[in-house]
């Protein structure tokens, strides 16, 4: 368990640039499954065959939120825009990687020389990446417009917790890889879909229904918690340590009743701790599967501070999510 999560979170893969993730995952799983291929959008799809039971798809998205270089300025700095939802308040003072190997810093004018309104949320158009280049010409030798920009946070593990960037949704990718590793014996065919471009509008899975004839899909996700002093308890979404979050509804999709109930039933029957996701904000690939006529459910590992350079999960939640999914693919 958790063998791959460190490397998974440290690989940079902003939506549209999932290549390194896909190569990494493919390399690690290709000898442990029956079929594997990459589709036209870049989704990596692997099959572990059963014995004529249902066809179940487990989805985890490979992409993470980040940025793209939108301009190279005369003074050698880079303008950039978010890819997926990143609050401009979490980006200042961070080291970032541009493209494959250029390092830069998102700096901000010194507090001493700021004018009124310094407590207003900054706009992306005011922010710049500094790569130490003295001019546009010098910068152009190192980067180009369209390059991916990713956070660079290093993975850390304590007794109970994991701190990393991109846990949304490398945590899901890691769970799928751990399930493959576990070599589950099931009647059901299990498809593992490592998908692209979730953060820019649930795009990767849109083409999967045409390729595979599956009975149902589960989005294996990493979801918000909000269990901190800034939010009253009744507004929390989930609570770290209380087990996998099972979603009954989220933005644009009421989870298929039978799938929702089955997940709850399996958790209860096997004494796996779980919690309901208490807020219906945010969306997952489950909606995209539903839009293409595949009934879908959502199981998530609760995480603090997602969509920022640094997020955190509880290892027990990870373990119980893994257990719940293992039972689900056996019993569903």
């Amino acid at each position: 368990m958790l063998k791959y999560l460190k490397e998974l979170t440290e690989i940079k893969g902003v939506s549209g640039y999932e290549d390194d993730l896909r190569e990494y995952i493919k390399e690690k799983i290709k000898d442990k499954i029956d079929e594997i291929y990459t589709d036209r959008m870049g989704n990596l799809i692997a099959l572990k065959k059963g014995k004529g039971g249902k066809k179940i798809l487990l989805d985890a998205h490979m992409d993470e939120v980040g940025f793209m270089v939108t301009n190279i300025n005369e003074d050698g700095t880079l303008s950039f825009a978010p890819v997926g939802g990143v609050d401009p308040r979490v980006v200042i003072g961070k080291k970032v990687q541009i493209g494959k190997d250029v390092t830069g810093v998102i700096g901000y004018k010194a507090v001493h020389i700021q004018k009124d309104g310094m407590m207003n949320t900054p706009k992306y158009s005011e922010l710049k990446i500094d790569i130490g280049a003295k001019s546009k010409q010098e910068a152009e030798k190192q980067v180009k417009i369209g390059d991916m920009v990713a956070f660079t946070t290093q993975y850390e593990e304590t007794e109970e917790f994991i701190i990393a960037k991109a846990l949304d949704d490398r945590c899901g990718c890691s769970i799928l890889m751990d399930l493959i590793e576990a070599d589950i014996q099931s009647e059901n065919d299990i498809y593992f879909a490592f998908t692209v471009q979730e953060e820019t509008g649930l795009r990767g899975p849109a083409i999967i229904a045409e390729q595979l004839n599956v009975d149902l899909a589960i989005a294996v996700e990493t979801t918000t918690s909000g269990d901190d002093p800034e939010l009253e308890k009744q507004l929390w979404s989930t609570h770290l340590g209380d087990g996998p979050a099972i979603t009954f509804m989220h933005s644009g999709y009421v989870v298929h009743q039978k799938i929702f109930e089955k997940l709850v039933e399996i958790a209860q029957k096997n004494n796996i701790p779980f919690q309901y996701k208490m807020r219906t904000v945010g969306g997952t690939n489950a909606r995209r599967y539903a839009l293409t006529n595949i009934p879908a459910g959502v199981v998530s590992v609760p995480a603090r501070y997602i969509h920022s350079p640094i997020s955190m999960i509880n290892k027990k939640d990870y373990e119980n999510t893994l257990k719940l999914l293992e039972q689900f693919v056996k019993e569903a």
């Binding site: 700096g107 507090v111 800034e230 939010l231």
Partner: protein, 349 residues
């Protein structure tokens, strides 16, 4: 056998010094490291009652002091919640925009613990909340990942955990304000160990500048210097209306104004021309906000100058400096001390 034959590498020294936390009032670790390097170039080193490190190169001529503060801005734990979260207060002037989503260290009596400055994901914010940057009442640090987080006490120091690096001749690192100036003094001491000078030179690495404290003044008092050059940082590559733009990579900025001695400043400018060291001019019409203001008023008065290294993103977790600007500052300091002028009394501004 000389152990100082190998020239100090400016970049390595800066990265080393910026990697050691030294918040105002807690400068021991960084000053010990500086003392280790400086003993090769000094006849003696001592600490003042206010903690500042003073290293002396003996001489028979006039006394001159180079002053750089060694402290940096940081935080202290102001409140601890039962669930494992903290509130902070700033030691020195932070911009709250730069603190969110950083890894931090909490320096407890039993060693340092991990913390992360949390932030509500966009999914859970209201539109109203998203318009403002949280202040110290709303910023919080999550320490729940430490099984022993209860070791944390009110008043424990907190520092941001970022690591410096070099890129295209510039360094991005924490606390370049004012470790860059410390490095320029060390490099000047190295140079002066090879140059001929009669001056008695005091290298003073002072404490508590960021909170307007007594560190530099205590050094000036004990050393009884006649001349004092304060080295600090100034905003580089920023447009400040009505003022010349101080450019990064174009050499140190020499201050002109009432907190400096006009004749002494002219001397430094002459040295700059004579030795082809690029400098810029920074007009400061009143108080400078640096240790110069207090050093000038020590004992019977000190003939002061203020030399500032251009720095971008001051008080950000990563500040930026040009390595060449630090080296030019070191040269300017060393040569300024080799041929000190006679300045009559009463010729301040």
């Amino acid at each position: 056998m000389s152990n100082i034959a190998k020239e100090l590498n400016t970049k390595d020294l800066l990265l080393k010094l910026t990697s050691i936390p030294g918040p105002s009032g807690y400068e021991d670790d960084v000053l010990n490291e500086i003392a280790n390097v400086m003993k090769a170039y000094s006849d003696e080193c001592f600490r003042t009652p206010m903690g500042s490190l003073v290293c002396v190169k003996k001489g028979t001529g006039p006394k001159i002091g180079f002053f750089a503060h060694a402290d940096q801005i940081a935080f202290m734990v102001a409140k601890i919640y039962e669930e494992g979260f903290l509130r902070l207060t700033g030691v020195g002037g932070w911009d709250p925009k730069t603190i969110i989503s950083q890894k931090v260290w909490i320096h407890t009596k039993n060693g340092k613990l991990r913390g992360i400055v949390g932030f509500m994901p966009p999914h859970l914010q209201t539109t109203e909340e998203s318009k403002k940057v949280p202040d110290y009442d709303h910023l919080f640090v999550d320490v729940t990942m430490n099984p022993n987080w209860k070791d944390i006490s009110i008043g424990d120091l907190v520092t941001i955990d970022v690591e410096g690096f070099e890129k295209n001749g510039t360094v991005f690192a924490p606390a370049i304000d004012n470790r860059a100036s410390c490095v320029s003094i060390i490099k000047a001491a190295e140079l002066l160990s090879k140059l001929k000078t009669s001056a008695e030179v005091y290298y003073i690495f002072s404490t508590q500048e960021e909170i307007g404290g007594p560190g530099a003044k205590s050094g000036a008092y004990l050393s009884e210097v006649e001349y004092g050059i304060v080295i600090d940082v100034t905003h580089g590559d920023e447009d400040i209306p009505g003022y010349p733009k101080i450019k990064m990579g174009e050499g140190p900025a020499v201050a002109v104004g009432p907190v400096t001695n006009r004749k002494f400043v002219e001397h430094i400018q002459n040295i700059s021309s004579k030795y082809n060291i690029k400098t810029q001019i920074e007009p400061i019409p009143g108080r400078s906000g640096t240790d110069t203001d207090e050093v000038q008023l020590t004992r019977i008065g000190v003939k002061t100058a203020l030399i500032s290294i251009p720095l971008k993103y001051m008080h950000n977790p990563y500040e930026k400096v040009y390595i060449k600007d630090i080296e030019d500052t070191a040269k300017l300091l060393a040569f300024s001390a080799t041929e000190l002028p006679e300045i009559e009394e009463g010729q301040s501004c």
